[in-house]
């Protein structure tokens, strides 16, 4: 069974993988039957609502909840005083403080109290009756302002041991990566470009607001239903905050209405559990859109200094980046990933990145699709583009000249195995898009992007039913069609039709620990575990066949959905199909199942090249996306429709980030655009079709060669669009978003 994976990749003849079957959750989702976070109810359920700080930064001197508690229909009021202080785990302590402010409200929208009442109207009345005595203090929301001397300080304790002494107390951590000697490298360059690039914070923008339903008994047994990217994470975090055993808290993941990283932590769940505990009633909480924007994780805003040296024939001699990311009011901006990924696409002798994790009076950032990488790539890919065009060189050729390949020592440390960057660049260069004519006020941009991808704790259980079909239980919420992909891989391995496999997302009581659906890990890691679970089931079925035939089990092989006698016994018995073995399982040792638990290595890094044409209206600065093509390595596309969907979705989120999405804070530190009206995600009429080219350079770390595909697609668009707009407008754009006032001002200043 254990074929060498490389050898297997060369010989595998897929029957199911690579086809485009219909998704198993399709009918539920087109008929309105699918149940999302807010779609569940419980008998006797109360409505939970949160009171939020109207100040960007304020000491909470006191909270008087007595008037709220006195209202008929109010069953519980919760503040931070109801939670045990967490002293031994800073990470979880920050999550709790973010869910319910302790000593200070750290941003506009920070939760300060919550109520549970018999109706929404009563709950709203109760919120108004809570009196919070705030002492408003100075605030800071800009990443560069936050580290100036005299800036308002969020946490007196300052940063960790990586931060040099005498640094701003708003710096939480410092990271450094690279090799070689930057100064020596720069001295070989014909031109050294130094620039600063800035990006604004953007929100993941999932259409489904956070929602959960909690209940907890006197015996400590608790149940949570919620929309999340990781119900095991929800279980572990809530158990720690509530001081209950993980095994006593069962979390069931609803269908999830988008996450993109934003649902990899908790906001409401511990509060709902505490309200349920205090009221002894089930409590449902659903955020409004304005709460989602004010108080759940946007991504970081950034300010990045670049210094890159290039020879006139396009060789990068040295590359340096200093990255400052603010991740809101707590440590943990994704600057480390930014510093690691910034130069990952290039083979560089002299490279260094320094990252600074900075806090400001903004909501605690949450992961957003390839967290930290798009901002870094925006700066690096803009600079490379400017250098290439300055020398009159083809920007794709320059990237090819410097491209990382198998054997390249990455700027963040590892040596790459087989990777697909060069293939995406060559494909882009050969594509008709690259040579299509452009009109007046139009420009074309390209950029590359990288994402690490990830494995993580994974459990899969595969059961053979008595009638010869299979069920797969996995522990990762399906955010992009993963149930279909798991069923496909199980069907492929077992040799039965896709329709004979049904995959479910199991609750936390059903499987061991599962990492969150993040890091583009599910098709890779859960897929790998599914394949291994199927292989375990096949081994068992071969054993049962051997028993039936009375031959040695080593002399049985599995092919085309049946056990065959092999070796000296070949042909001695007619094959036993999966259904035949399943039908008699009761007599040959009992039910048949396979399972696999692992934390797989070998996720296989991912690269993409994006190409985009834009037109700039010189009178208004409005940017139109005319054409867009994504070239990305998928390793092996299990379900090509969903791979294309990930490419397209990531590209369009990148278009939003590049052009019109931004967190806008007033002088008072209050978020000005907490709604979909002024937080402007792309609408259908803003866009052309998004063309995709899937490349398949197999990942040696996966049995079928799969690489994660979900995140890389948001890394190149920021720079690709900036490069295209800069060409169309005739002026280099160094700040995102490139909203019309900014583009017009830049062209008029030029």
């Amino acid at each position: 069974m254990a074929l060498d994976s490389k050898q297997q990749l060369d010989t595998l003849d897929f029957k199911v993988v690579g086809t485009r079957p219909l998704r198993p959750d399709g009918i539920d989702k087109v008929t309105g039957r699918a149940r999302f976070g807010a779609d569940i109810t419980a008998p006797g359920m109360l409505v939970g609502l949160v009171l939020r700080s109207p100040h960007a930064h304020a000491r909470i001197k006191s909270i008087d909840t007595s008037a709220a508690q006195a209202i008929d229909g109010v069953h519980a009021v919760v503040t931070s005083a109801d939670f045990e202080k967490i002293t031994d785990d800073d990470f979880t302590a920050d999550i709790l403080d973010n869910c319910m402010a302790g000593e200070k409200a750290l941003y506009d929208g920070h939760a300060v109290a919550a109520v549970a009442a018999s109706s929404g109207a009563i709950a709203r009345r109760a919120l108004k009756a809570i009196k919070v005595d705030y002492e408003v203090i100075d605030h800071v929301t800009d990443v560069d302002e936050a580290i100036k001397p005299g800036a308002p300080v969020l946490h007196a304790a300052g940063g960790n041991e990586s931060v040099p002494e005498c640094s701003s107390p708003n710096i939480m951590a410092r990271y450094e990566f690279g090799h070689g000697d930057i100064d020596a490298g720069l001295s070989q360059a014909d031109r050294v470009l130094e620039r600063t690039y800035r990006t604004e914070a953007t929100h993941q923008g999932y259409i489904e607001p956070h929602a959960c339903l909690a209940q907890i008994g006197q015996d400590g047994q608790a149940d949570l239903w919620c929309c999340t990217q990781g119900h095991y994470m929800v279980r572990n975090t809530c158990a720690a905050i509530m001081g209950i055993d993980q095994g006593q808290l069962r979390v069931t993941a609803s269908e999830i209405g988008g996450g993109f990283g934003g649902k990899t932590t908790v906001f409401l769940e511990p509060v709902a559990l505490m309200l349920a505990k205090k009221s002894s009633r089930p409590v449902k909480m659903v955020m409004s859109r304005s709460e989602v924007l004010r108080a759940t994780g946007p991504t970081a805003s950034s300010s990045v200094d670049i210094r890159i040296g290039m020879t006139k024939d396009g060789r990068i001699t040295a590359a340096f980046a200093e990255l400052r990311y603010q991740g809101g009011a707590y440590a943990g901006s994704p600057v480390e990933f930014g510093a690691m990924s910034a130069f990952a696409p290039y083979d560089l002798e002299h490279v260094k990145t320094v990252g600074w994790d900075i806090v400001t009076n903004r909501p605690k950032q949450a992961a957003y699709r390839a967290p930290g990488a798009p901002m870094a790539a925006y700066a690096v890919e803009s600079a490379i583009d400017e250098l290439a065009k300055g020398f009159g060189l083809d920007p794709l050729e320059v990237r090819l000249k410097n491209a990382a390949r198998e054997g390249t020592v990455a700027s963040y440390g590892p040596t790459y195995p087989a990777i697909g960057l060069e293939a995406t660049l060559r494909k882009a260069k050969d594509h008709p898009h690259w040579t299509a004519p452009l009109g007046e006020n139009q420009g074309r941009g390209v950029a590359c992007g990288f994402w690490f991808n990830f494995g993580g704790d994974t459990c899969v259980s595969l059961n053979i039913t008595p009638d010869g079909t299979a069920t797969v239980s996995e522990g990762n919420p399906d955010i992009g069609g993963s149930r279909a992909s798991m069923s496909m891989m199980a069907a492929e391995e077992l040799g039965i039709p896709y329709e004979k496999v049904r995959t479910i997302v199991a609750d936390t009581g059903s499987l061991g620990q599962n990492e969150v659906t993040d890091g583009s890990r599910v098709t890779f890691a859960v897929g790998l575990a599914t394949i291994e679970a199927a292989r375990a089931a096949k081994r068992e079925m071969c054993k049962r066949a051997a028993m039936t035939w009375g031959i040695d089990e080593e002399a049985v092989e599995w092919k085309d959905g049946a056990a065959h006698p092999a070796g000296p016994n070949a042909g001695s018995h007619p094959p036993l199909t999966l259904a035949e073995i399943a039908a008699t399982a009761s007599n040959t040792g009992g039910p048949i199942a396979g399972h696999h638990e692992a934390n797989p290595e070998g996720a296989g890094v991912s690269f993409a090249t994006h190409m985009v044409d834009t037109e700039v209206d010189p009178d208004t600065g409005a940017v139109k996306i005319l054409r867009y093509t994504v070239f990305q390595d998928a390793g092996k596309a299990v379900h090509p429709d969903y791979v294309e969907g990930q490419f397209q979705g990531g590209a369009v989120q990148g278009i939003g980030w590049a052009l019109n999405e931004e967190y806008i804070y007033g002088e008072d530190g209050i978020l000005q655009n907490a709604g979909f009206l002024d937080y402007r995600i792309p609408v259908a009429s803003d866009l052309p079709m998004i063309d995709t080219v899937i490349l398949e350079i197999p990942n040696p770390g996966h049995p079928y060669g799969v690489r994660g595909v979900g995140e890389t697609s948001i890394v190149p668009p920021l720079a690709a669009i900036a490069n295209a707009v800069s060409e169309a407008a005739g002026v280099r754009m160094t700040q995102l978003p490139m909203s019309p006032p900014k583009v017009l001002a830049a062209t008029q200043a030029d």
């Binding site: 208004t620 409005a622 019109n660 009206l677 402007r680 009429s685 803003d686 019309p740 006032p741 017009l744």
Partner: protein, 285 residues
């Protein structure tokens, strides 16, 4: 809160006049319900005018069109004759929000919500529309530009509401247009809006024009200098330059989350120029 749904205009006037508390008129509800949800409006009563049949009609009157206060933008857009006469006004209504919003929103509601950025208002002003206001003291007709007095404020008295909008008879060889600037292609509030109507004589000389700007002041701005820049010209490049300059001069915008002062000032001129070009072609030039 009370929900009132009278079926006659007289009943509506009486209910509104006799309501002791904060009673709000519900036409399309696309602003009122948003305000209620955010807590910005907490009315004691809501008076739904959509069950008053007269207010749901588009009626020919004196060569022009009377549009009931409960007529949605979508209904206007489906009215071929109205659209042929006043395409600018109809298109302005058709720019408010999404298809879903256009199925509900009304000219009268857009006017009385008194947002400086209301899309249909500059178009109505350019068309010299009047609002028929009803109330306990009777009925009066006023130019639409006199209804909003500032952000969220109107000149309506206690117990008064707008029952209909009247678009006058369209002159021969005239045309109107409304353009607005938004960052996306749909779903945004105007950063700048410009409504414009003009009339040409047989020689193609502009004999009448009216230009109104939205979102560049606390209420809609009628730019007489812009109209004067067109009148007597063939609406040629020089006239368009003068028009654009007059509009930029007249703009008194603020900087906010939707745009800067400089941007709005400049784009007011750009839109006026483009709107004039459309109106001119619609006038048959």
């Amino acid at each position: 809160m009370r929900y009132l749904a009278p079926t006659s205009l007289d009943d509506a006037v009486q209910l509104l006049a006799s309501d002791p508390g904060d009673c709000r008129i519900l036409a399309g509800g696309t602003d009122l319900l948003v305000r209620m949800r955010s807590g910005m409006a907490e009315p004691d009563s809501i008076l739904d005018i959509k069950r008053i049949n007269d207010l749901r009609q588009i009626t020919a009157e004196d060569g022009g069109w009377r549009i009931g206060a409960a007529v949605s933008s979508a209904e206007m857009n489906e009215h071929t004759a109205l659209k042929a006469d006043w395409p600018g006004v109809v298109e302005a209504g058709d720019l408010i929000g999404s298809t879903q919003i256009q199925g509900r929103c009304t000219l009268a509601g857009n006017l009385c919500n008194a947002s400086p950025a209301a899309d249909s208002v500059p178009a109505m002003v350019a068309a010299r529309a009047t609002a028929r206001i009803v109330g306990p003291d009777g009925t009066r007709d006023v130019p639409v530009e006199d209804v909003p007095t500032g952000p969220g404020k109107t000149s309506l008295g206690k117990g008064e509401f707008v029952a209909s909008i009247f678009l006058p008879a369209k002159a021969d060889r005239s045309g109107d247009a409304y353009l607005r600037f938004i960052p996306r292609t749909e779903m945004d509030i105007a950063v700048v809006g410009c409504g414009l109507s003009l009339t040409l004589d047989d020689a193609g000389i502009c004999t009448d024009a009216r230009v109104a700007l939205g979102a560049v002041g606390p209420k809609v701005i009628v730019v007489d200098a812009a109209a004067e820049a067109l009148i007597g010209t063939q609406v040629d490049d020089a006239a368009l330059d003068a028009l654009a300059a007059a509009c930029s001069n007249a703009a008194t915008p603020i900087a906010d989350k939707r745009g800067t002062v400089e941007f709005r000032t400049h784009v007011a001129g750009v839109l006026a120029r483009r709107a004039a070009t459309i109106a001119k072609s619609r006038a048959g030039a």
